[in-house]
Symmetry: C2
Subunit: 425 residues, 2 copies
């Protein structure tokens, strides 16, 4: 046997062994009570603080290796843990204990004419496969959300965070040993080669769902290669449409918020569409406000006339998630044109209209195809916490299972319980 | 350009052209009122009857070609239409008009502390891709369920039913021309080569979901190759577990019903597990009853002792969907053993316990991983009509989006409508 083949086989063994253990653990975890699950979350919270030195030391190795390999500073920042960030993670675990446990919840209950009693209840999904980038906080976040919902998890993080992830998962498992939950419910793949991820994509016998967390490229790789069902949390090319009747101050406030509050996230605004009537009076003011906030503007011909600093917007600009201090602006004739533009270039994430005209708002709500549509509010609200869910798995841009911000129920499935007394018809 | 290449290009053009038209139609269809959709269903119902001669003539061509090609009689039966079957299809369309329209339904409504008003409503999924076998009734069934839920549909049926499908889709489209719904909402791919289906699997830009309808092989091909999300309607290796305390007459009645009422369908019973105490007293009676119904029995060692006609059950038998007058029987020591066996060999479809002991029932309900679990009732009830849904898209054996019998809501997605008055925080 060649070395390569041996390694290949070893890899498969690690993946399959751990996936099997997770599946076995999921069976027991599904029966855990809410109190047992919350006790486990509290134990993990305590251990993260107690084992802080160990975790930070291991994290420092990853950070040093990353720097040496020339990792850019924003990635280094995401990779880096410190006492404050660990404290935030520990606190989030305590907050999670306070949320309702969706498992066992009765969703529907009815009786059939033949006397069958039907109940639809929430149950865990089973085993979640999580594929993510070099953000060790996701290791805690994903594990704790899965435990709260009675799911086992197989984690496949980035090689550049492997020491951090190993330390965190060891800590989680040491905490679980003190609880009634199965230790094997949380599995970390230590082999971080691409081939292992590819094997995970098709591990339908053990994994019930795959959740990719990271950039558009990672997510698309998973979507395009996985046969295990995927919870897709996608890109956000979000628009703000300023209607002819929009309140000027409100429109500018929301534009500045949606574009500049945190431009690197998926719910920030990437393009602004302005009705020609509003544009005639107020577009210059909007441009000035954006430029004062250091936003680089790409515009159509009308917009370009306002300032020599505005570069032409290409077809590529309309489709682009800048994720930075850049925006594309277009003047439109009608709400129809705005809707058509959004449905053509948008990613079905979050879309907003600023308007004082009820029919325009209704048309926008009805015709724009997106997970969340807003009237007179910023797209930045598309977020599990802002929606009041208390936790967020991610923001779904797919149409099946869950759409928009996903709270704990997105990590559940359902089961029909049917009680009879001998019915065969 | 070679002939093959030309044909390849033509195919792609047919698929993409029709998918584009469907997507365009979906935009308009999403805005159709319930009355407009019901009028369209009524028009289709009327046209199916009016154009009966045309449809039956075209169907006869398929049947003749199928017979000539040596198609087996049960497939010929599924392919064949007659006046009575067309009448049933026309009647089903009228019944569908009487069901609630899920589109626009408010699922949740709340206000956030910052004054944002949040509403979660049901919306159509968009464009449904349907891949199915030689059953022309699916053409009507799938199209009408999609129209009722505001979805456009791209149909890809079997080459052996192409004349029937073309006639039915032409009839549907002629009916739609008289209504306010877009004619392009129903598209039939006339190219039925495998390559075209393979292209459909990955047509994420146009198709929002794929629904395979047919045998296990078809469904697995779609699941294992599609990047478009799939609504999986899977195989059913369903079990009946007869507990120690089961009422004898009830257990035998249900066993006979679940096994013999319609053995070719997914919710029929394939294996019977019998608690040793019940087996000691009543297994012989169960075996006799099954044999009187011409059921061939495969049994474990204990079961084989009862009759020389019983063949040994292999590991393959436990995993098998016989879909005929055959059953595998095993004697178990405990509920635990029954649950373990079911979770190992079952397909997570429908599982039943016959028992007079509440703790055994609770354990079975909690620990068996299936879309539907039954106490003292037949697995045959797993069906959209038996559940009172009034319609059925199929029975989902996956855990995301929908699980178990799927009614109209399974063909919907959701959208968050957020109303503000200038909120940025």
């Amino acid at each position: 046997m060649t070395e390569l083949l041996k390694e290949e086989r070893m890899t498969e063994t690690e993946l399959i062994t751990k996936a099997q253990k997770a599946k076995e653990a999921a069976f027991h975890l599904a029966k855990a009570t809410t109190a047992e699950k919350n006790e486990a979350l509290e134990a993990i919270s305590a251990h993260l603080l107690e084992e802080q030195v160990f975790i930070l030391d291991e994290n420092a190795k990853d950070v040093a290796a990353g720097r040496q390999a020339g990792m850019n500073e924003s990635l280094v920042d995401r990779l880096t843990l410190d006492a404050a960030r660990l404290k935030d993670m520990a606190d989030a675990l305590i907050q999670l204990t306070q949320l309702n446990d969706p498992i066992g919840e009765t969703l529907e209950k009815w009786e059939q004419p033949n006397g069958l009693s039907m109940t639809k209840i929430r149950v865990p999904i089973g085993v979640v496969g999580m594929i993510y980038e070099a953000r060790p906080n996701v290791t805690v976040d994903a594990s704790s959300l899965c435990l709260k919902t009675g799911n086992a998890i197989v984690l496949r993080g980035s090689s550049t965070a492997i020491n951090s992830n190993k330390a965190i998962v060891q800590t989680i498992r040491r905490a679980l040993e003190k609880t009634k939950l199965p230790v094997e419910a949380v599995q970390l793949l230590e082999d971080t080669r691409r081939e292992t991820a590819s094997q995970m994509f098709k591990l339908n016998d053990y994994l019930d769902v795959l959740i990719p967390r990271g950039g558009a490229k990672l997510i698309q790789t998973v979507v395009q290669n996985a046969t295990v069902p995927v919870l897709e949390t996608g890109a956000g090319n979000c628009h703000l449409y300023i209607d002819g009747t929009a309140d000027v101050e409100m429109a500018i406030d929301i534009a500045i918020n949606a574009k500049t509050q945190r431009p690197s996230v998926c719910n920030s605004c990437e393009s602004i569409l302005v009705h020609k009537e509003w544009a005639a009076e107020h577009l210059a003011e909007l441009v000035t406000a954006l430029e004062e906030h250091d936003v680089k503007i790409h515009g159509d011909a009308t917009v370009q006339q306002l300032s020599s600093t505005i570069s032409p917007a290409t077809d590529e600009d309309w489709a682009k998630e800048y994720l930075g201090f850049e925006v594309a602006i277009k003047v439109v004739e009608t709400v129809d044109e705005a809707v058509t533009h959004i449905n053509r270039y948008g990613t079905k994430h979050s879309e907003a209209i600023i308007s004082g005209d009820a029919p325009s708002v209704e048309q926008f709500f009805n015709e724009v195809d997106a997970a969340a549509v807003y009237h007179n509010a910023s797209t930045r609200f598309t977020d599990g916490y802002e929606f009041g869910f208390g936790a967020e798995i991610g923001i779904s841009t797919q149409k099946l299972h869950a759409r928009g911000p996903m709270g704990l129920p997105a990590l559940t499935s359902t089961k029909y319980i049917v009680r009879g007394n001998g019915q065969t018809k």
